[in-house]
């Protein structure tokens, strides 16, 4: 068991390192001189000659070999470093953990911005995920219990249709018609939970519901499938034959076995939500990671923001994978790791 966890941790670490190399190469090789040219045009407007571009590229370390730049980047994460934006020889201090400087936002530190934006994404993800997990599992169990009935067939047909419609259309139309036109829901947005939790809940109510309801369909289908398998097992028949109440059989004995694979999928989905609910944040105007990265794509292109968002999100997904794998061996006694 300990060996498995150690091996799994090592793999996860390797994946994070490789992802960081990938992101780094993508941004620093893929872009070439584009960041220097962009900085030059921003600083000097029309007077940006090819010599000036060269000076900017030199100052921004674009002429150094890739390995040295990557080393600087890694050192920056653990110890901090100094970054030049090209416009002047002046260097900006970037304390650890340094993920770069956001030029789009008054040269703020990316790490600070990340801390600033993360609560919104986290609150959004936790609320939405809680709704779809509970709703999906309950609906799935109910459908499995009344298998073949009109309720079951109706529920499964409607989940198929709902999950076939693009999520962002549901989000966009519900925002337009429920918030803007009918004003059934209060204006959406993120208000810090520490200030006024009621206001936070009001602003995120519709986004939570949209994430919850659209994703619940997939969980309902999946947990129904699991539950149907489990309910045909011998030990369930034994439990019923013993005279246990039907509710107790289904929810205590059945659900316990059926929920393990559901939790596995949930772990990965939740990580994807945490990695940035780009559409939800963009449509409902929530100031989280997703919206932040989209804004970084507008002029001026803010590459340190996007690379940081990609790196942090990929790390979160890897962590979630790790946790799910380890939890799985605890939750399901049949799983043996060697």
């Amino acid at each position: 068991m300990a060996g498995f966890i150690v091996r799994r941790l090592l793999t996860a670490f390797l994946v994070v390192v490789l992802t960081s190399i990938f992101v780094f190469v993508l941004f620093f090789k893929g872009l070439g001189d584009a960041p220097a040219n962009q900085a030059c045009e921003r600083a000097l407007k029309d007077r940006c000659t090819s010599e000036a571009r060269e000076v900017f590229a030199e100052r921004m370390d674009l002429r150094k070999p890739l390995t040295e730049n990557y080393k600087n980047f890694v050192v920056g994460i653990f110890k901090g470093r100094e970054i030049s934006l090209g416009a002047s020889p002046q260097k900006y201090a970037c304390p650890a953990p340094c993920l770069g400087i956001s030029i789009g936002n008054g040269n703020a530190l990316v790490t600070d911005e990340l801390k600033d934006k993360y609560p919104a994404t986290l609150t959004l993800a936790v609320g939405g995920a809680a709704i779809y997990l509970v709703l999906g599992v309950v609906l799935g169990s109910v459908a499995a219990r009344r298998r073949g009935s009109a309720l079951d067939r109706g529920m499964m047909a409607s989940t198929l249709v709902i999950s076939s419609i693009p999520f962002y259309l549901v989000a966009l139309l519900s925002w337009i018609y429920l918030t803007q036109q009918a004003q059934v829901f209060p204006q959406t947005g993120y208000f810090p939970i520490t200030d006024n939790p009621a206001k936070t809940a009001a602003g995120l109510l519709l986004p939570w519901l949209v994430i919850g309801l659209t994703n619940a369909t997939q969980y309902a289908r999946f947990s129904r499938g699991q539950m149907v398998d489990v309910l045909s097992e011998d030990y369930i028949r034994t439990a019923s034959a013993k005279g246990l109440r039907s509710n107790r059989v289904v929810f205590k004995h059945g659900l316990r076995a059926a929920i393990v694979p559901v939790i596995t999928i949930f772990g990965l989905d939740f990580a994807t939500l945490l990695a940035g609910t780009v559409f939800t944040e963009r449509i409902f105007g929530i100031d989280g990671i997703g919206n932040w990265s989209i804004q970084a794509l507008r002029n001026p292109l803010d590459f340190s923001v996007i690379s940081a968002a990609v790196l942090v999100s990929a790390t979160l997904v890897v962590l979630a994978n790790l946790i799910v794998d380890i939890l799985y061996s605890f939750l399901d006694p049949r799983v043996t790791v060697s």
């Binding site: 993508l26 893929g30 076939s164 693009p166 139309l173 780009v278 968002a309 990609v310």
Partner: protein
């Protein structure tokens, strides 16, 4: 060959044949197939239909100046002065003109459908080939190559798709960048397909690898190996024909996924901007929901019908190939 009358044909059917027989009896599948075929025809002949109806969906080919067909000033600023929403329906422009640009909405819709289906089809074909090849090679080669390929697959799976696309879009565009609009449009198209393929091959690769792992222990593969059939021939002539079912199912489910992804990325402004696209139209139209609902609803309904039909069809195909389901 048709059996002579009065004699019952006793012949084995291939799994693909059985699946298609089951599909033909499935009402949902039949309806969805008809819808998809109609949409594909509309998309394929979009330029021809637009020419016949004398409507224009691209600013570069517009024969009239946008200022001729738009209101300026007043409460209707930017809205078209022919057709909806201010004036009633006109046969010249069945879905009206777009505010601010004076383009025909129907023409734009058809061209958008065309790009959408083109990108989704190309992305599906390429990612299927990549997935099948990687899956076959990984499953057939024991040891380090298999481990390396599966590790790469897991690495790609841990990469958040939308953020990855957001990171790659400006880079690819900077690489292909041309000054002219035509070049930019093509660059965006290629960039978008590259991104979709980049994040779209992993599921099939894993599936195929799993299939190969179980098939390679079967007698016919071992026999082929013993008599010295070259590996490439074993992979593509012996193994591949046994995996038609999972490949068809995967294709039918990735098409709608790619259509959805393309429109979504274009909606976010990181997909297509230089040419008609449904996602881009939805983005343009979202602020007109009150004054000009038709403008918003036309692309929304089109894309919903397309994705819904493709998804339901894909689901029916999956069920048809699954011997355990009874429909």
């Amino acid at each position: 060959m048709e059996p002579p009358p009065g004699e019952k044909k006793v012949a084995g059917k291939s799994p693909t044949r059985i699946a298609f027989d089951r599909l033909r009896k499935d009402k949902v599948a039949v309806v969805c197939t008809i819808v998809v075929i109609l949409l594909v025809i509309a998309a394929a002949f979009a330029p021809l239909i637009n020419k016949m109806l004398n409507i224009y969906g691209e600013a570069s080919s517009l024969p009239y100046s946008p200022t001729d067909v738009l209101y300026f000033g007043g409460p209707n600023n930017g809205l078209p002065n022919v057709g909806p929403p201010v004036n009633g329906f006109t046969a010249d422009h069945p879905l009206g003109l777009s505010p601010g640009q004076g383009l025909d909405n129907l023409a734009r819709l058809l061209l958008g459908l065309r790009t959408s289906l083109l990108i989704a089809t190309l992305a599906t074909v390429i990612s299927t080939i990549v997935g099948v090849v990687i899956g076959l090679v990984a499953g057939f080669s024991r040891g380090w190559l298999d481990r390396l390929l599966m590790f790469t697959t897991d690495l790609f799976l841990s990469f958040p798709f939308i953020l990855g696309a957001m990171a790659m879009a400006p880079i690819l565009r900077a690489r292909f960048n041309d000054e002219d609009i035509d070049g930019l449009g093509r660059a965006q198209l290629i960039a978008l397909i590259v991104i979709l393929v980049f994040f779209g091959w992993m599921g099939l690769a894993r599936l195929i690898r799993g299939q190969v792992l179980s098939l390679r222990e079967r007698e016919f593969i071992q026999a082929a190996q013993v008599i010295g059939v070259p590996t490439r021939q074993i992979l593509f002539k012996e193994l591949l024909p046994n995996m038609v079912a999972p490949i068809i199912v995967s294709i039918s489910l990735s098409l709608p996924a790619f259509v959805t992804a393309e429109a979504g990325l274009s909606y976010l402004g990181i997909g297509l901007t230089g040419q008609p696209s449904l996602g881009q139209t939805i983005f343009d139209a979202q602020n007109y929901f009150e004054v000009y609902p038709l403008y918003l609803w036309a692309p929304v309904v089109t894309i919903t019908i397309l994705v819904l039909a493709l998804n339901l069809l894909g689901d029916a195909i999956r069920d048809a190939f699954d011997p355990k389901t009874r429909r």
